[in-house]
């Protein structure tokens, strides 16, 4: 039983990871939706560039991503300074920064999942909505979005799972401050660096897996209901 009891620091890491994963997932869905939609539907000059940019975090080693985040969003970084001065939003060494790093790292996955769903939407239904008087934004909200739901859900669960495992960019960007930025993967990583830390690392890994599996099961249940609703009509 002892083996299962979490130390206060570990419990804090669990709570923090949950918060980071939840916030980063929820916060990344709207921009991901927007970008997925743009990439799927519009052809514009910067299309390839935007597409490339979205995929960057996948292509670059996480350490590099973290490094770039630090350059941009750190206190001295152009964006970070702006956010701090004008919005009072400080990211460096804060859990918010961890959420940002998570969101950036999972962004390609979320965008791609949503994009696949957007591309599968039958555009004739949107045309039908337009003839019924729905302006583009409402067509999007009342037709496209509901039909994209499976992709949103898949994106959300991918993002959540990725956030639960993300570590390289996070630790490089916001480092590892117990209670503030020490997420589960950071804690696990630290344990793997100590001789004899395997047991602890394994324990926390199992906790992390348990959380993600719960989220996964929930998402599957929702997906099943969605599928039933959207059964080819």
């Amino acid at each position: 039983m002892d083996w299962l009891t979490l130390s206060p620091d570990e419990a804090a890491a669990v709570r923090l990871s949950l918060r980071v994963a939840t916030v980063s997932t929820l916060a990344s869905l709207p921009p991901a939706l927007l970008i997925a939609f743009l990439l799927a539907r519009r052809r514009f000059p910067g299309h390839a560039l935007l597409n490339g940019l979205v995929h960057l975090p996948l292509v670059m080693p996480p350490v590099v991503t973290g490094y770039l985040l630090l350059l941009a969003f750190g206190r001295r970084g152009p964006v970070g300074a702006f956010l701090a001065d004008h919005l009072g939003l400080v990211l460096s060494f804060r859990w918010t920064g961890a959420a940002l790093a998570s969101a950036v790292m999972s962004f390609p996955l979320v965008v791609r999942a949503i994009r696949l769903s957007v591309e599968a939407v039958d555009r004739r239904l949107e045309a039908a909505a337009a003839t019924l008087g729905a302006p583009p934004l409402l067509v999007f909200l009342t037709v496209t979005l509901p039909l994209v739901a499976p992709g949103l859900l898949a994106g959300a669960i991918l993002g959540f799972a990725k956030s639960m495992g993300e570590f390289g960019a996070t630790i490089t960007f916001v480092s590892n401050i117990p209670g503030e930025t020490q997420t589960l993967p950071s804690a696990i990583y630290a344990l793997t660096q100590v001789p004899g830390g395997e047991a602890g690392a394994l324990r926390l890994t199992l906790v992390s897996i348990a959380i993600s599996m719960a989220a996964l099961l929930a998402s599957e249940a929702i997906a099943t209901r969605l599928a039933r609703r959207l059964a080819a009509a």
Partner: protein, 376 residues
């Protein structure tokens, strides 16, 4: 309100080049499969842009490439019943029906008629038991009915219907057609109606536009257009008969009849919009031609044509088809074997061909051959 269309559009190898104007309450769009009907309707709805041209309804210019105007679909207020139903799979039937109405109600007061109208249309279409369901399990006809309801409830100022009744049984059609007639007559919503059904077109439409390979090849009152058979693929003729070429002689306004001349004989048909002297083709169906040895008197049939039997051949178990010469033109008559023997007909027998004038009345058009069927 008048609808003016003059557009050109390329779709792959297909070219649509349609130009017509109509102010009929219900205009039928007719033409063979692939002639461009749906493409044209899509342009009207704003779902496609013409390469070039202009579409206007009354004062509202829907699209005009010369001024680069393009009114987007959602601001055209057209109700479109698609050839494929296109129901929203994520919404219940009820919410599919209410979808367009919601926008309509935000727009104008008239649309606030409300529950009554909803109930009436649901009742008319027989879809009340489906309201709570999703489109997924609906039958083909159920789907089409919901699509009609959805378009009607969106309070359009122009209704586009692309073969709306194709998947429906006769009984259901017979329920919906009178409603469309009321809509046409009372609500004054112009309707563009695509259909392959001669019956529907004749019954509903005041004007008819015939497309062929993307071009308008005929336009006018349906009964008349249907009669100009040369415009239509000959295969429309599914029953034996012959065309008579006749000349318009005049009118008998008192009886609502037009008088036609065929050689010496005179034929009476319900009034046609044709000037005296014009030449017309009339289709006379073999089954509508009765034969008499003597010119009958005291009968209701107005048209009696002297003729000569020039040939005959058995037709089925109990029938005989005779070829007649009638003022130099050929006519067919189908009678029973029993009559054939009783009248002792031979090649060369002089006979009288008897035809009723009413079988030509537009209201009773069955299919094309019935409609354009024999006169005199």
């Amino acid at each position: 309100m008048s609808l003016q269309i003059d557009i050109r559009q390329r779709l792959g190898a297909f070219r649509l080049e349609a130009r017509f104007e109509t102010s009929a309450r219900l205009t039928a769009l007719f033409g063979r499969s692939g002639s461009g009907k749906t493409s044209l309707v899509n342009l009207l709805a704003g779902l496609a842009r013409p390469d070039e041209g202009r579409i206007a309804m009354g004062d509202a210019v829907f699209v005009d490439t010369s001024t680069r105007r393009f009114l987007p679909a959602h601001r055209r207020r057209v109700g479109y019943v698609f050839q494929d139903a296109r129901l929203f799979p994520h919404l219940s039937v009820r919410h599919n029906l209410l979808y367009g109405r919601w926008f309509a109600r935000r727009r104008d007061m008239a649309a606030r008629a409300g529950q009554d109208e909803f109930d009436r249309i649901v009742e008319l279409l027989g879809i009340a038991p489906l309201l709570a369901r999703r489109p997924a399990g609906l039958s083909g006809g159920e789907r089409q009915r919901v699509a009609i309801g959805r378009a009607l409830l969106s309070h359009p100022r122009l209704l586009l219907m692309d073969e709306p009744l194709a998947a429906l049984d006769e009984a259901r059609k017979a329920e919906i057609l009178p409603y469309l007639e009321r809509l046409r007559d009372e609500a004054a919503i112009p309707i563009l109606y695509v259909s392959h059904s001669v019956t529907e077109v004749l019954r509903l439409a005041a004007d008819m536009v015939v497309l062929e390979a993307g071009r308008v090849v005929a336009q006018g009152p349906p009964a008349e257009i249907m009669r100009r058979l040369d415009l239509l693929p000959s295969a429309y003729e599914s029953e034996s008969g012959r065309d008579l070429v006749v000349t318009v002689e005049g009118e008998e306004p008192r009886y609502g009849l037009t008088v036609l001349a065929l050689g010496e004989a005179r034929l009476f048909v319900p009034r046609l919009a044709a000037a005296p002297g014009a030449s017309l083709r009339l289709r006379v169906r073999a089954r509508d031609v009765m034969l008499a040895l003597e010119a009958p008197t005291g009968i209701s049939a107005l048209n009696v044509l002297p003729a000569t039997v020039v040939g005959f051949s058995p037709d089925g178990a109990s029938g005989m088809e005779l070829r007649l010469d009638c003022a130099g033109q050929e006519l067919l008559s189908r009678i029973t074997l029993k009559s054939f023997e009783a009248l002792e007909l031979r090649v060369g027998s002089p006979v009288h061909a008897v035809l009723k004038a009413v079988s030509f009345d537009r209201r009773y058009g069955g299919d094309l051959s019935t409609e354009a069927s024999g006169e005199a």
